[in-house]
Amino acid sequence: MTEDLLADTITFEGANGDLLEAYFAEPLKPESVGGVLVIHHLPGYDEATKEIVRRFAANGYLAICPNLYSREAPGASADDASATVRALGGVPDDRFVEDARQALNFLTTHKSSNGKVACIGFCSGGRQSVLAACSLQLDAAVDCYGGFVVSSTPDEPGRVQRMSLLSRLTNLSCPLLGLFGADDKRPSPDETEILKTALEEHNKEFEFHTYEGAGHAFLATDRPSYRPEAANDAWTRIMIFFSRLLS
């Protein structure tokens, strides 16, 4: 289904009342629809991520992608902003959660919202998607090859710190769809199994798919890692998942 859509760059208040830039898209015909928070990856708030926002709107959803680097690099190109934030140690988890909370509130208070919301993230955004789902009330969450969900980055000088989310899974508020590549090293298939076991122990609803012949970032159309067959299947599963949970 491809619907006409509207897309625009907006601002909204994130954590601490800070104004954040965001890319927002909605179906052209006003209806009561679900909303999707799209979380950009470590390389930043880039054109490929904005295409994903438009994709959800074309499929009948409200969609928003906050520029998580708005504070440190307002108006900067995606790669310049990413380099600046990386040099500063990355986006703190607690700040991200509050930004996500406000972005979800933007979606649920939109005139076309049916009150249902989901989040989806890719790469580092995949980890943040799980983090959001463990911290906030959501109807669905999608983790696309998020690393450091079941392990923590080493505590070494110069390394951007990311803590394991295993202890938070008890608070997972919604069904989780996980999409992974069998050739990925982080998360590796072994790490995916650890996550699966933890979710089972917490009696959480989840659905995982690991694609043979695909590695990290297999959904990234602008990278050599793109795998069309795996990506097409993954998108089908995402849309079925959201159709069931955001209606």
Binding site: D79, D80, R86, C123, S124, R186, P187
Partner: protein
């Protein structure tokens, strides 16, 4: 995967950035997803001038072997420079 591992060092010098020549004070070195170089991962270097903003940056993305040769060439150049040329630096 996003490696997150980043070496961050202080440097002193100048670089020709998107906004022109700028003093630079920081460098980030990491092996992660490149923006332009057509590989999944590369050796990435950001030469930064935080006080002049994100656009005051020189970035390069290298094949690991190229990065190694560049590093060796830099060290070799320094090693083979006559000592008297370092006098102003009081090294």
């Amino acid at each position: 995967m996003c490696t997150y591992e980043t070496q961050r060092i202080n440097i002193e010098g100048s670089a020709k950035t998107r906004i022109g020549w700028s003093p630079v004070t920081d460098a980030s070195i990491y092996f992660d997803h490149p923006v332009h170089f057509g590989h999944g991962h590369a050796l990435l270097v950001d030469i930064l001038s935080p006080e002049n903003g994100p656009a005051a940056r020189v970035a390069f993305e290298l094949h690991p072997e190229s990065a190694r040769r560049l590093a060796e060439a830099i060290l070799s150049t320094l090693e083979n420079t006559p000592r008297e040329l370092f006098a102003e630096y009081e090294l």
